[in-house]
């Protein structure tokens, strides 16, 4: 197999020339030209919606370009399916893994290869072990996918691609689901693969990762190719400016909490989901008015359930949730209440859920109708009153610079950032005393993210207790006052955000109460 590779010396591994791809009226890529060289790690950088994934999907056979040329090893090719891509030794590791849960690692690896009628799993295992040995992976070929952690699944995806003989690997936001330690492991493996002559494209919007791992950076903005630059010749500020198109300040303002008062205490909270899985176990903490409490954890560690339990959307197995009224300090138990009861109590609770269009907003309704989602019952008439929600919508659009044709546009048609502005705008509008937010900046561009950070800080200064569940540790460390770290449904630690380090938080994320007990048992993979 190896022998058929003809190194057309001089030609880059892949050349994409004047690639255009449109979806309806949306131009995802406009005459983009990109070169992938042999034995390099190329970062493809751009904000959400800038067309990075679309461009790479055309290389991996998911989409077909409307126009333009793709050359592999200096020859024009047509990639119509993922199989064509594999034949050209191009493999992509998608953000959402494409594995079959009930099969083992080895079975997933040969899935779809159709090499023989009888599965020769023994040989597969041997090859897998060989690949693992070469690059420093650990994959257990007999482990079922449903027993794997996110990072194991990702490793399996990479091995799968390598097994199919890929020389050009595309990784779509691979670190989004990893802890800092796992990210380091992945980077070590990537460096090994580079040494071996593979070309690697990493799609990301995290600048510090770009600086750390890549040799070269190519930047896309709004479907246009902005340019490329050697990593050693650039810095995060310049890359941000290329990515956004103008200078952006990367500092988050964090005023000291003024006179924090106890607003919410959670004691011994245990939550079991519909499938009988224990999602939260004996969680206790306090949130203060005038402070941002950051919540960190690997995704799926119970963050979502924690906020939903407080907001009255989850059945609580045991424990207590107590709210303290701002002025009187009177304690009210929120246990066993649904959102209506909580509102009736006069608790001004705002909740920005993770699933914006599936929980926070109604996608098919326009901005004005979404504004009255929590207040439509006002008034005695059986008919709804539409004037004040309209005014509110106008106000939110103006205050937060929401880009929308009008307030009667269905929110589904807005871009992710604008959807989030509408949601946060509505929630903040009621002057909340307790603000819960889950992954408030996920998928947002840098500018909108900073708008959201500013809004959170404003609420904190107003005296609200802000609970901010976040993914990006760098941001959490800069934005929050204290950080609560969850590890598989339990509180692993509560740390001062001003003094802690990323490593400390990362360790708490993976090892319950790591501070008291043994430190990491992770072995670093060395190149």
């Amino acid at each position: 197999m190896e022998s058929t590779i003809q190194f057309n010396s001089g030609a880059p591994a892949v050349q994409m020339i004047d690639i255009t791809k449109t979806f309806g009226t949306v131009v995802a890529n406009n005459k983009v030209s990109l070169e992938i060289r042999r034995g390099e790690i190329l970062s493809l950088l751009g904000e959400n919606g800038s067309g990075k994934t679309t461009l790479m999907n055309m290389l991996s056979g998911i989409y077909y370009p409307d126009s333009g040329t793709i050359m592999v090893d200096g020859r024009p090719v047509s990639i119509r399916s993922p199989k064509d891509a594999f034949d050209l030794r191009i493999g992509m590791i998608h953000q959402h893994f494409k594995l079959v849960d009930v099969l083992t690692a080895a079975e997933n690896i040969i899935l779809g290869l159709n090499e023989k009628f009888v599965l020769d799993l023994k040989n597969v295992r041997k090859t897998v072990e060989e690949i693992c040995g070469r690059y420093g992976f650990t994959v257990d070929p007999n482990k079922k996918v449903y027993n794997m952690s996110v990072s194991e699944k990702q490793t399996l995806e990479i091995v799968k691609v390598l097994y199919r003989g890929a020389d050009i690997l595309i990784l779509d936001e691979p670190t989004a689901v990893l802890t800092p330690q796992e990210t380091q492991k992945l980077f070590a493996v990537m460096r090994n693969m580079k040494e071996d002559g593979k070309s690697i494209v990493i799609i990301t919007h995290k600048l510090h990762e770009v600086m750390e791992i890549s040799d070269r950076v190519a930047v896309l903005r709004k479907g246009e190719y902005i340019g490329d630059i050697a990593t050693k010749d650039t810095d995060p500020q310049q890359l941000t400016d290329m990515m956004v198109g103008r200078a952006v300040s990367l500092n988050i303002d964090r005023p000291d909490p003024v006179n924090p008062v106890r607003r919410l205490t959670v004691t011994g909270l245990t939550v079991i989901d519909d499938d009988g899985v224990k999602k939260l176990h004996n969680v206790s903490f306090a949130a203060m008015g005038g402070e941002i409490l950051g919540v960190a954890g690997i995704s799926g560690s119970g963050q979502k359930e924690l906020l939903e339990a407080i907001a009255g959307l989850r059945i609580i197995e045991s424990g207590d949730i107590t709210y303290y009224e701002p002025h009187t300090g009177k304690a009210v138990s929120l246990l066993g209440m649904n959102p209506r009861d909580i509102k009736r109590l006069g608790v001004r609770l705002a909740f920005v859920p993770e699933d914006r269009l599936g929980m926070g907003l109604v996608g098919s309704m326009d901005l004005a109708d979404n504004m009255m989602l929590k207040s439509y019952k006002k008034g005695r008439l059986p008919l709804t009153e539409r004037k004040s929600p309209k005014q509110l919508a106008e106000k939110v659009v103006q205050d937060l610079e929401v880009v929308t044709p009008s307030i009667s546009t269905p929110v589904r048609k807005l871009s992710g950032g604008n959807v989030q502005k509408v949601l946060v705008g509505r929630e903040v509008e009621g002057d909340p005393t307790l603000l819960l937010s889950a992954y408030a900046v996920r998928g947002l561009d840098i500018n909108t993210s900073y708008t959201i950070y500013r809004l959170m800080t404003e609420q904190k200064q107003r005296g609200a207790a802000v609970v901010y569940v976040g993914e990006d540790l760098d941001v959490l460390l800069e934005l929050a006052d204290r950080i609560l770290v969850l590890c598989s449904g339990q509180v692993s630690g509560i740390v001062d955000a001003r003094t802690t380090t990323k490593e400390e938080v990362g360790l708490l994320m993976t090892h319950l109460g790591a501070m008291q007990t043994e430190p990491a048992d992770d072995k670093e993979v060395e190149a």
């Binding site: 590779i5 077909y64 047509s78 034949d87 909740f351 859920p353 699933d355 109708d369 059986p382």
Partner: protein
């Protein structure tokens, strides 16, 4: 993997992509094209299999609705023939209007057929047992109330089961249709008249108690469309306001879009599901009353006659807008009448009218694909070559 060089410059021929924004008139243009294609296709079949000139066949369609002697008469006379068509349009419209709140809530009520049947049974029972005792006007009110109650119960059961045990409403409402049909057969056998016929002849044939009376000149007891039309149009308007401007309508829309959003905003999903589904089925039950009191004056296993299913198409094509439903109900009823007339007039098998309606519906529904997706054929494109 040895065929690495096999990836030549090959091009896909058919591109299918989702349309994001399509002007509304464009959509209607495609739908009209679908109707046209349906007419051409069924015209071809008429010609090939029955050797009937399609143009005269379609001409007879119009006659089927407005009457054979329509040509040459005054407009009003022609109009008089169309009373039956208007009446049936209104009945179909009412069922579609009834389905709207359930469907808007994404509660797939395909049990309208059964809800109509139980409504009809309840109405007929009142006619049979109270016909001699209460005056016609009062009887009509009692019949309507009974039909509404019967329909409501038929919808309440699946709604409760869905709310409390998360059963699948599609299957549940479908099964309820069969129960209603068996009940119908039972009551037809029980109340059969004349004895031994295993059917019920026209109820209260002589004194016509419990029949919706004719109001204007030209109407007969068989085609008394005016009362039905006025009432159904009032319902249609009310439903429009209810769905669009009431708090309950807002709740329906939120629940339909996402139950999580509904819970998040403090809406009791169970309450909304039960309330809206009961409303939906009650209206379908009322349609059963209209069929008995204003149309058939009897009951049989064909009382609902598939209207409960046709109304689903009406509601969907109208995107649950009650006013658009008027047009679509009128069109489908028109086609039904017309196709039946072709069958009679040209002496072709009766099933033939169903073939024509089937082809038309297929083309109309097929249009939705072309409205949602654009298909491009590409033969000679050269992209990818040097």
């Amino acid at each position: 993997m040895s065929n690495i060089r096999k990836s030549l410059v090959r091009e896909p021929i058919i591109h299918i992509s989702r349309r994001t924004d399509i002007p509304r008139w464009h959509g209607w243009l495609i739908r009209c094209g679908g109707v046209l294609a349906g007419l051409l296709l069924s015209g071809l079949i008429i010609f090939l299999f029955f050797k009937v000139n399609p143009i005269s066949a379609y001409g007879s369609m119009i006659n089927g609705v407005f009457g054979e002697k329509w040509a040459g008469k005054t407009f009003y006379d022609g109009f008089a023939y169309s009373f039956a068509w208007i009446r049936d349009t209104m009945i179909l419209l009412l069922i579609a209007v009834g389905l709207a709140p359930a469907f808007k809530m994404r509660f797939w009520n395909i049990g309208a057929e059964g809800q109509i049947l139980v409504g009809a049974i309840a109405a007929a029972a009142c006619m049979i047992f109270l016909g001699a005792r209460v005056p016609s006007g009062l009887l009509l009110v009692i019949m309507a109330v009974a039909a509404v109650a019967a329909g409501a119960v038929w919808g309440l059961l699946p709604a409760l089961a869905k709310s409390f045990w998360k059963t699948n409403e599609t299957l549940f409402t479908l099964m309820m249709n069969y129960i209603a049909l068996l009940l119908m057969e039972f009551f037809v056998a029980k109340w059969e008249d004349p004895p031994g016929s295993n059917s019920i002849s026209i109820i209260n044939r002589v004194d016509k108690t419990g029949w919706i009376p004719p109001v204007i000149e030209g109407e007969t007891f068989g085609t008394s469309f005016l009362v039905i039309t006025v009432l159904v149009l009032i319902f249609t308007t009310l439903m429009y306001v209810y769905l669009k401007h009431s708090k309950q309508g807002y709740e329906i829309a939120v629940v339909g879009e996402s139950e999580n959003t509904a819970r998040y905003s403090g809406i009791s999903v169970k309450k909304v599901v039960v309330r809206s589904m009961t409303l939906s089925s009650a209206i379908c039950g009322l349609a059963g009353f209209f069929i008995v009191a204003g149309r058939d004056h009897t009951i049989s296993d064909t009382t609902a006659g598939g209207r409960g299913f046709t109304a689903i198409i009406v509601a969907w094509l109208a995107k649950f807008n009650p006013f658009v439903m008027i047009l679509i109900a009128a069109f489908l009823t028109f086609m039904d009448y017309g196709a039946k007339n072709i069958a009679t007039r040209f002496n072709v098998p009766n099933d033939f009218s169903q073939i024509i309606t089937g082809i038309l519906l297929f083309c109309i529904l097929g249009c939705e694909f072309f409205i949602n997706y654009s298909v491009k054929l590409d033969f000679g494109r050269k992209g990818g070559k040097e």
